[in-house]
């Protein structure tokens, strides 16, 4: 699929040429160098992948090309050429003629990049009215055709809807149709699938490749996801700390990477064939936690509430049964809204439920029965360490809370225990004096993990703990978790949307969809042809990274 359509013969003027371009931001604490001496060319009909982690400067490059820079941006005299014409000496009104008509953009999250108070039709047709001078009637007809090309079944109906009346995938199709509407020379894709569900993301990717074949558009495709870029791009540039460290065709970069950073990045991409997990407990090992027929109903209302504003309740989880054995790691996989986090909340004692949860030799039938002993034995680590660590407490206080609460060690030994915990998560013991904002994202997540293990739990629930981290950091956090599990023998319920990652860690995997448990299987059986169809669809949507598959 990748590289299927390369029209440019290399002699033509490239659609986009960036040469010797540097950019820094003036801040009160000195300049921040966002881009350093960037050289990048997008040939006609080519898709150029720009891969980098957060803070690498990849978005700054997009803003520079679209001439959408903040006031504190300072540029050098490098070149930014669109089909040979300099973008840098254009006036604002000339730039406004170029944006949307000659360069357009597809954004990361369609739920925030579409105006919630405007119908989708108006948001699509306004670019046609602005740049092609159509009347609103003509523009709407044209919009309908544009939307039909993106695979929307009832485009006319979709045009009349507001963003909140469309699914994430439908909204992103509208955004893509808008970007393609004026047949621009270049489209900048900024992580267009990151905010979408696995299967939706796969469909959007297929749509991209299909439109690429039909229109032979030139594209700059920005992403942090190497595996994904390998499936759409002809040429790849890897950017790190504002510098392009490696550039070449997809095959070159992925199969014979030269730069160390690229190699590290490729190595960090989860590969389901690379087992990282701990030794599986024997089949006769007793169940540590077993949830039976757990149902959660959201939106229950009081009598008066029902009278005034009746809202349908909805089932966050419906008759879900999950078992975790001592020392086992069970993966819980599903898309957003599948109910996997609801189950995480139920099992960590944060959400009321019907059904039963058996832990050890005790039974719990509702939230109010969950007691201190249970809460100590079952700890949870959340997705966003920024939100789950108190910004005003030092790491020392954060880690001493569970030690005090559950009286894990005598007060005199607490300082020593905190130092040990930090070492266990491979952070220097001096970090005890730091505040959360003085730590990086990965370091914060390590503190959150240390806090969970401080209570000496028997079961740790990890709710998307790697989802907000960069690939390389994600790999080290996963590895750290495996080490802790090996040392402590703690069981783990690992909730994630990343199938490739969970297949490296979990002994058994549960799949949820629309609040129901669809499938539970042992990792060896993942690719058996008689797997549940939904599991098969999920697996198909996330093929292993190109280099490793080759």
């Amino acid at each position: 699929m990748a590289g299927a359509n390369t029209h440019g013969d290399g002699v033509d003027t490239p659609v986009l040429e960036v040469a010797g371009y540097s950019l820094r931001y003036a801040t009160p604490s000195g300049p921040i160098h966002a881009l350093k001496n960037i050289d990048l060319r997008v040939a006609h009909g080519q898709t150029h992948g720009l891969v980098g982690e957060s803070g690498s400067g990849k978005s700054s490059l997009a803003w520079a090309i679209l001439r959408y820079l903040p006031e504190n941006a300072i540029e050098n005299d490098g070149r930014l050429l669109l089909s040979g014409e300099s973008l840098r000496d254009r006036t604002l009104s000339q730039i406004l003629e170029i944006r949307g008509r000659r360069i357009s953009m597809v954004f990361q999250d369609p739920s925030t990049s579409l105006n919630p108070a405007m119908r989708l039709g108006e948001q699509l047709s306004e670019v046609l009215i602005r740049h092609r001078g159509l009347t609103s009637q003509e523009a709407l007809e044209e919009s309908e055709a544009a939307l039909a090309r993106t695979g929307i079944a009832k485009p006319k109906d979709m045009l009349r809807r507001y963003p909140h009346e469309a699914s994430g995938g439908e909204k992103q199709r509208v955004v893509i149709a808008t970007a393609f509407a004026c047949n621009p020379e270049l489209i900048v894709f900024d992580e267009p699938t990151t905010a979408l569900d696995t299967i939706t993301a796969q469909q959007i990717l297929e749509l991209f490749n299909q439109l690429q074949d039909e229109t032979s558009i030139s594209a700059l495709y920005i992403s942090h996801d190497l595996g994904l870029v390998s499936r759409v791009a002809d040429v790849v540039s890897v950017i790190s700390s504002g510098e392009i460290v490696e550039s070449g065709t997809c095959a070159e970069v992925f199969q014979t990477p030269r730069d160390d950073y690229t190699k590290a990045l490729l190595g960090a991409v989860p590969n389901p064939k690379q087992w990282l997990g701990v030794t599986e407990p024997p089949p006769e090992a007793p169940a540590l936690m077993s949830a039976k027929g757990v149902t959660v109903e959201y939106g229950r209302q009081s009598l008066v509430g029902q009278l005034l504003a009746p809202k349908p309740t909805h089932l966050g989880a419906q008759d879900v049964s999950i078992e975790v054995r001592k020392g086992e790691l069970v993966g819980l996989v599903g898309e957003s809204g599948s109910g996997k986090s609801t189950m995480g909340k139920v099992l960590s004692g944060l959400q009321d439920f019907d059904g039963s949860v058996r832990f050890g030799d005790r039974n719990f039938a509702r939230l109010s029965e969950i007691d201190r002993t249970y809460r100590r034995a079952v700890q949870i680590v959340f997705q966003h360490p920024d939100a789950s660590l108190n910004p005003r407490q030092r790491v020392r206080e954060i880690l001493s809370r569970p030690l005090k609460l559950y009286d894990i060690v005598p007060p005199k030994e607490r300082a020593e225990r905190i130092a040990n915990l930090l070492e266990q998560v491979r952070l220097p013991r001096e970090f005890a004096d730091r505040l959360p904002h003085q730590l990086s994202g990965g370091e914060k997540q390590r503190v959150a993990i240390a806090r969970a293990f401080a209570a000496e739990p028997e079961l740790v629930i990890c709710d998307e703990i790697t989802a907000s981290l960069d690939v390389s950091v994600q790999a080290s956090v996963a590895e750290l978790l495996m080490n802790l599990q090996r040392q402590t023998g703690t069981a783990c319920l690992f909730i994630t949307h990343d199938l490739n990652l969970v297949r490296q860690l979990a002994h058994r995997i549960c799949v949820m969809q629309h609040g129901r448990l669809m499938d539970t299987f042992h990792r060896d059986d993942a690719e058996r042809p008689d797997r549940n169809p939904y599991t098969r669809a999920l697996l198909k949507a996330v093929p292993p990274p190109a280099s490793q598959a080759a």
Binding site: T112, N115, Y162, H164
Partner: protein, 316 residues
């Protein structure tokens, strides 16, 4: 807008008004002495009080009295004023229209001035215009009505300029010019704080909207700034402002009592003070009920406007 949404909001308003009538009626039960004692004054003999009680029906159980009172209200009969010997409906009705003309003038001018000011401050964020509007807002918001009123009277109605009459009232029916010159100072007094409040609200909403992803997306589509502001940003920042305006109506209803007294405006506020001083219970009840109804209905209206501005609300 869905009909169901409207019906649900209307039901909620009716429920609120029902609770209000109950509270207002309870005042008669809580106050020391009943209407009979009030009418006859401290010299009424026990026999005379008892006779009047039975004539007014005050010796019946409270729920019968309540139902009787509610029944009257539903038929437009608010009872008889104890001091003015006139039907309450007539007294309160006249005062209501006088107050309404003042309140509506104040509210309309506030809305027309405050929203553009807020938008301007947000667009020109960090410039002199923003600073001036911000300072005006702080000063406006921190001055109570009696200070504003005094300053306005000294400067604009004082002997030096004498632009406007210092007080009094001419109804719209009598003379439009007369009404206008009399309404300026009380409306300005009422409006100053609200203008400050609403323009600040609009500024902060607008600033937030302007930094949102969808505004960036609109700009990167190459749309002209005018369309970005008017079509993309404004509707999204107005919905919260409308909610604030409807809350401010509650403030306005309180402020009007002070302002009417200062400017001798014969509205509900002055009537309420008169009724309180003279313990004219039926009038107090009627005015309280009217003010509560106005507040509830203006909230309903703002909910409808918000639903028009923000399509997500309609289905909530």
């Amino acid at each position: 807008m869905t009909l169901g949404y409207l019906v649900r909001r209307l039901l909620a308003v009716i429920l609120v008004l029902f609770v209000v009538t109950f509270a207002v009626f309870a005042i008669t039960m809580i106050l020391p002495g009943n209407a009979a004692v009030m009418i006859l004054g401290e010299y009424g003999t026990d026999e005379a009080v008892a006779a009047l009680e039975s004539r007014l029906g005050l010796n019946r159980p409270w729920y019968i009295q309540y139902l009787d009172w509610i029944g009257g209200i539903l038929q437009g009969d608010l009872g008889q004023s104890l001091r003015l010997s006139l039907p309450v409906a007539d007294v309160v009705g006249d005062a209501f229209w006088n107050s309404a003309s003042l309140a509506v003038t104040a509210l309309v001018s506030v809305t027309v001035i405050a929203i553009p000011l807020g938008v301007l401050a947000a667009i020109k964020r960090g410039t002199v215009a923003d600073l001036v509007i911000g300072m005006f807002s702080y000063i406006g918001a921190s001055m109570p009505e009696f200070v504003t009123a005094t300053l306005l009277l000294i400067f604009l109605a004082g002997p030096a300029l004498g632009l406007f009459p210092a007080g009094g009232f001419v109804s719209l029916g009598e003379s439009v010019g007369g009404f206008s010159s009399h309404v300026v100072l009380p409306a300005a007094t009422l409006g100053l704080i609200l203008t400050a409040h609403i323009s600040r609200q609009v500024r902060s909403e607008m600033s937030e909207v302007l930094s949102s992803d969808y505004i960036r997306a609109a700009r990167l589509k190459g749309l002209r700034e005018r369309r970005v502001i008017r079509r993309h940003a404004l509707p999204n920042s107005l919905a919260p402002a409308v909610a604030v305006i409807s809350l401010d109506i509650g403030y306005l209803l309180g402020g009007i009592i002070v302002v009417e007294e200062i400017f001798a405006w014969p509205g509900l506020g002055r009537l309420l003070i008169y009724a309180l001083e003279n313990r004219d219970l039926p009038v107090i009840q009627a005015i309280t009920l009217v003010l509560a109804t106005v507040y509830a209905l203006s909230n309903l209206l703002s909910d409808i406007v918000i639903a028009i501005l923000d399509p997500r609300v309609r289905y909530a």
